[in-house]
C-alpha cells in the first residue's frame, strides 16, 4: 500500500487561493486505508475549508467526490462530466494518482492535498510502517520475508551489524532489528543455510538513475 499524510491546511489554502470552485477528490484505495485520502478525509478537509472560507468572508464552492482509484483511467473517467464545472481539483490521492488525473485533464489545475510517504503495511489500527523500497530486485525469498534494505537502518545485505540490543535496532530502539528477525525466522524454518551466501551490493540501477520506471506487458494490452 502507498501511504500518505495530509498537508497542513495552510499549504492547501495557499494552493487553492486563486480559485472559487473547488472539486475535492478522494481515492478509495491505498490512501483510504491509511486514513489520509478516502471519502471520510475528503469530508473532513472539505468541511474545514468551507468553514475557513465562511469565517474569512470568502465565497467558495466546494464539491466532494471520491473515486475508487485515481491511478486508473477507467475510474478517472468519472470526472469527465463534472470537472469542467470547477476551477481547480484538490486531489487526495498519492502522487501517482494526482499525476494520472492531470494526464487525463491537462488543462485543469490539479493540486495535491497529501504528501505521499512510503510503501508499507497497516501494522495495527492507526499505525503504518514502511517495509518496501520498490528497489526492483526483491530478495525477500532469501531473507525470510524481511527486507533488510528497508527495515535495517543500515540497509545491510550481509548482516547483522552486531549493534542491536535486546532484539532492537541500535539506531532506533523502537524498531526491531531486521537482522534479528531474519536470523530467528530462518532458524525456525531450518533454513539458516540461506545465509551462507555473501550478497553483492544491491543493483540500484533497477530502482533509479534511468528516469521513471515502466512495466510493459504485451499480454495485458488490448
Amino acid at each position: 500500500m502507498i501511504t500518505a499524510e495530509r498537508k497542513p491546511i495552510s499549504e492547501i489554502k495557499e494552493m487553492i487561493a486563486p480559485y472559487r470552485k473547488v472539486l475535492v477528490v478522494g481515492c478509495g484505495s491505498c490512501v483510504a486505508e491509511c486514513a489520509a485520502g478516502g471519502e471520510k478525509e475528503v469530508g473532513l478537509l472539505s468541511s474545514a475549508l468551507r468553514m475557513d472560507a465562511k469565517a474569512s468572508g470568502k465565497e467558495i464552492a466546494i464539491k466532494e467526490m471520491t473515486l475508487d482509484r485515481q491511478c486508473v483511467y477507467e475510474f478517472i473517467d468519472q470526472l469527465t462530466d463534472v470537472i469542467g464545472q470547477y476551477d481547480v481539483v484538490l486531489s487526495l490521492a498519492c502522487g501517482a494518482g494526482v499525476q494520472a488525473v492531470a494526464e487525463v485533464f491537462p488543462k485543469v489545475h490539479i493540486v495535491p492535498a497529501l504528501n505521499t510517504t512510503f510503501l508499507g503495511e497497516t501494522k495495527e489500527a492507526g499505525l503504518w510502517v514502511e517495509n518496501c523500497r520498490g528497489c526492483g530486485d526483491c530478495k525477500l525469498g532469501v531473507f525470510a520475508a524481511v527486507c533488510p534494505v528497508t527495515r535495517c537502518a543500515k540497509g545491510l545485505f550481509n548482516g547483522p551489524c552486531g549493534g542491536s540490543r535486546t532484539d532492537r535496532c541500535e539506531v532506533d530502539p523502537d524498531v526491531p532489528c531486521a537482522w534479528q528477525l531474519i536470523v530467528s525466522r530462518l532458524e525456525d524454518m531450518g533454513r539458516l543455510d540461506l545465509l551462507r551466501k555473501v550478497h553483492p551490493p544491491a543493483d540500484w540501477s533497477k530502482q533509479q538513475g534511468k528516469g521513471p520506471r515502466k512495466i510493459y506487458r504485451e499480454d495485458q494490452r488490448t
Binding site: K40, G43, L44, S47, A48, R50, M51, K54, A55, G57
Partner: protein
C-alpha cells in the same frame, strides 16, 4: 442559563447508555430552546467520528459537546477512550483553520453522580460561556 451563552447554538452528542429515558428526557429542553439545541444520541460515545463534529460546527453549532460515560464504565469497554482521542484530533483540525479548540468539549460524567440527559445539558448551559458566536456563521449570524 448564563447570559453570555444565551444566544449560542449548542449541539450535544451523547452516549445513550447514560440515560435510558433520554428520548423522553431531552424533549422538554428541545421544546424550550428550539433550534438552539440539538441532541444526537449515540449507541456509545465511541461511535463519534470527527466528521460528525465537523459537520455540526459547519451546520451552525457554536459549541459542540460530547458526553461520555465515566472512564472505566463504558458499556462497550473502550468507547469513551476512543471518543476522547477523536475529540482531540478534531480540536487540532479546527485549530488549523483558526477556530478555538474550546468549541469542542468532551464531558466525562462522574460515576457517583448519575443524571438524566436534560439535567446534564442544563448543567452545561448554566456554565459561563468561554466562547462567543462561531465565526463560521459569517455575516448571517
Amino acid at each position: 442559563m448564563d447570559k453570555k451563552g444565551a444566544g449560542l447554538h449548542i449541539t450535544v452528542f451523547f452516549c445513550r447508555q447514560l440515560d435510558p429515558n433520554q428520548d423522553v428526557n431531552r424533549r422538554s429542553l428541545e421544546r424550550e430552546l428550539g433550534e438552539r439545541i440539538r441532541f444526537f444520541p449515540l449507541p456509545c460515545s465511541g461511535r463519534i467520528d470527527p466528521l460528525h463534529l465537523m459537520r455540526a460546527l459547519e451546520s451552525g453549532a457554536d459549541k459542540v459537546y460530547l458526553i461520555t460515560c465515566p472512564e472505566g464504565a463504558c458499556h462497550y469497554r473502550e468507547g469513551n477512550i476512543r471518543a476522547k482521542k477523536r475529540i482531540a484530533y478534531t480540536q487540532s483540525l479546527i485549530e488549523e483553520i483558526g477556530l478555538e479548540r474550546e468549541r469542542l468539549e468532551l464531558i466525562v460524567t462522574s460515576a457517583g453522580n448519575p443524571a438524566t440527559i436534560d439535567e446534564l445539558a442544563r448543567g452545561l448551559l448554566a456554565r459561563e460561556a468561554s466562547i462567543g458566536t462561531s465565526p463560521v456563521k459569517g455575516k448571517q449570524a
